[in-house]
Symmetry: D2
């Protein structure tokens, strides 16, 4: 069976500019996530980053990507609009997209959902987050307990300006008193999107086994599926019309 091709995209700035972050993710968040996923022999994992030519997302790379994982934070505005459009077209054409944490404010997430997805409450206090599974039979929750507990995380709180998710898998509880829709599934065009909240750069969240399990489950969930044929444009009638072309 052909391997599933995963590309982990990362802005890759914090890790090169902040010693504290570099300590947690010496080779970058993309390499951390990619390394864990790469232990699965059914996945073929590559990475791409903002400062590579075309942000590492050439037509060839996109064409060979089944599922794209996206992490960004301080440099959303540096992502070129033409690349965003290419990624959007690929998602609508069937590529899966997993949007992590602060990439809620990325151009690609906003372009695909249409709302001001950057709008939410936040606080960097290193508090406790507990992600409760609300749909225990969802494939993205496979193998988890009833919740995921993360000792220290940035807080994101509602109201989060997103379209109501097609499927809501996780809801977060925060020590400081907020809640958040933390695992949101969307189907758009032929593609699937999953937004997963945790993963601030200054915490070792992507070394948490349950977080990796969710990302790994989401990769499989978001993978392209065989579907039916679809065409667009002008068509002839399938049934005889009583009218003729109107004059």
């Amino acid at each position: 069976m052909a391997k599933l091709k995963v590309t982990v995209w990362n802005e890759y700035r914090h890790e090169r500019e902040d010693a504290k972050v570099a300590e947690i993710y010496p080779a970058g968040i993309h390499q951390a996530i990619g390394g864990y996923l790469g232990q699965d022999s059914t996945l073929e994992v590559r990475t791409a980053t903002l400062d590579e030519p075309e942000h590492g997302l050439t037509d060839e790379v996109l064409a060979e990507t089944d599922v794209l994982i996206w992490w960004g934070h301080v440099a959303h505005h540096e992502v070129k609009d033409e690349i965003v459009q290419k990624v959007r077209d690929r998602v609508l054409d069937g590529m899966g997209l997993i949007v992590l944490h602060s990439a809620h404010a990325s151009k690609i997430f906003e372009a695909l959902l249409g709302t001001h997805t950057g709008q939410l409450k936040w606080r960097e206090a290193g508090e406790k987050e507990r992600l409760w599974v609300v749909e225990p039979n969802h494939p993205i929750a496979a193998g988890l307990g009833e919740y995921i507990e993360i000792a220290h995380e940035e807080m994101y709180g509602e109201r989060f300006e997103i379209p109501a998710p097609d499927e809501l898998v996780f809801i977060s509880w925060f020590e400081g008193g907020e809640v958040f829709r933390s695992g949101c599934c969307y189907r758009r065009g032929k593609g699937k999107l999953f937004y997963f909240r945790p993963g601030h750069e200054s915490f070792p969240t992507y070394h948490h086994p349950d977080v990796i399990k969710v990302i790994s489950n989401a990769v499989r969930w978001a993978a392209p599926v065989a579907g039916s044929k679809v065409t667009y444009g002008r068509v002839e009638p399938l049934e005889a019309l009583k009218v003729t072309e109107h004059v």
Copy 2:
């Protein structure tokens, strides 16, 4: 009670360039729709068109519009991106938006939904369309029979590349053998959107009482509602944290 402020926007090209269309809509589709809505004394109706400065959608007009109705077809690309962004922001801030017929391919509809909403099947053969009500208790269907029949219309057929509607009110049957999701409700940000399929420029569809009834119902459905308070951005914790700001 304050009147509800409705702006009917129209590309207004066919009516000026095609004698056949001008015969049906001598003052333009916007004036036809606006005229019918204006008979309702609880509505305050104005119109705006593509070739006016700023497409007739100045900041003042947008600020004073509760519900915007949008018709376009051949000149979607002439609508300026900055106006599209202003309209999008107003919708996400609470203004209702009713997207008619060929405006499925408009920039504003695509920007708010995120998919290639221009993608569908079509045929101009003047065939019969029957729009079945699938949610008879939806306020947009109020006062209708079980279906709306239109003797001659352009056909739009599935697959229509839209996000699954939050509420699906109408499904069309076409004489030539196709079906279509013809009445689609979406909530985005604080705003509501309604897509309504019928209304090709070469047919007197907007003189059909049931079509006007649907548009009129949709205006009320899409009107801004009083909601709860909402703020975004950095917040202090509501509960005492065990951790202090991480170092």
Copy 3:
């Protein structure tokens, strides 16, 4: 304008058997809620309780009820199945239904949703609950702040075995570490249902202004609306068939 007819149904056992509860709700939870709603001159409010004949829900009462509010806890099994079926039929025929707190496990809620709605986590520790508004433009949230805070409540925690709500308005945060989908909208048949979590009998929750505001908003949201005509059963074709009745 005709008044909206509201019936507040209560099991009415705790208040008669437990002095502590009677202190909070001397005339019963139904009278407390009914009293607050009755201050609104556009509502016509009556009450009904389990131990009345037919549980106070005669055909006449049901026929004259636009919105039914339901509170029950220890005596769900005493509600007669034929009354449950009548209530269900009325909801599917357009009557609104507001299901409060422990009525999640009522026969009527389970009959209308189809799942084991009694299944959830719970704890009676009098802890703090904070209900966050996740859809600030929903009419049920009108006039609220960003959240409702209740100093002491019973905890309900996920997983709650309900169908994914058509609209999710509130998510609760609990001091003990859990979350809950606390404001759930459903459309079923011609009727609308709203489940609202708070309201344990041993706390003065139904004296909380925001809780009453939500119930009041929900009454209006769930009120029957004018819809389209609908018929069922055998019908003649609307179009000529090429086949004749098969032999």
Copy 4:
């Protein structure tokens, strides 16, 4: 890999009482469907019928069924309530359920969805049905063309009194002028349901390759998935409470 266990349940009355039906399905609809599915070596298929003891749905059979297919028409009322409850519990516990054609009015479908699912329009005129795929990337549509055409079928028309499907895969066009939501997905409890419209007993619909393909796809879609752990009932707090158990 363990085989997926499929049980095809059939009322099995028409085939034994009506020579015309017996000609099409000599061994019954269950054997026809079961025979086709049985050609897939990854499936283990058995059948069960109404007139067997316990309708062929003993605890053992249900416990060993991953996906149950259900066909019924004239004898819905003969299905014992206790069996319906057992099937419902199994679905909510994870067993898939595929409800075919006239089983829209079965006790099990109504019990799981909560509405009067028997309510729809119908006509037995052997007319043409065309099922359009509206979600071409749904696994249930895998391998199909843009639509399925059935030369002769009973007509079912909207309004169909169902909860809005979680995912709508097919919409039918009928020669006589109606439309119908013909492929409806629901998640309930840990289980998945798929309603598929075609299959009147007097037509060879279950010999149609595309119809079998859909049923086969639906079996895989509805199969139980590994999920997360879930428990219900009284729980201790996960966080220290400021209050003590209230007195």
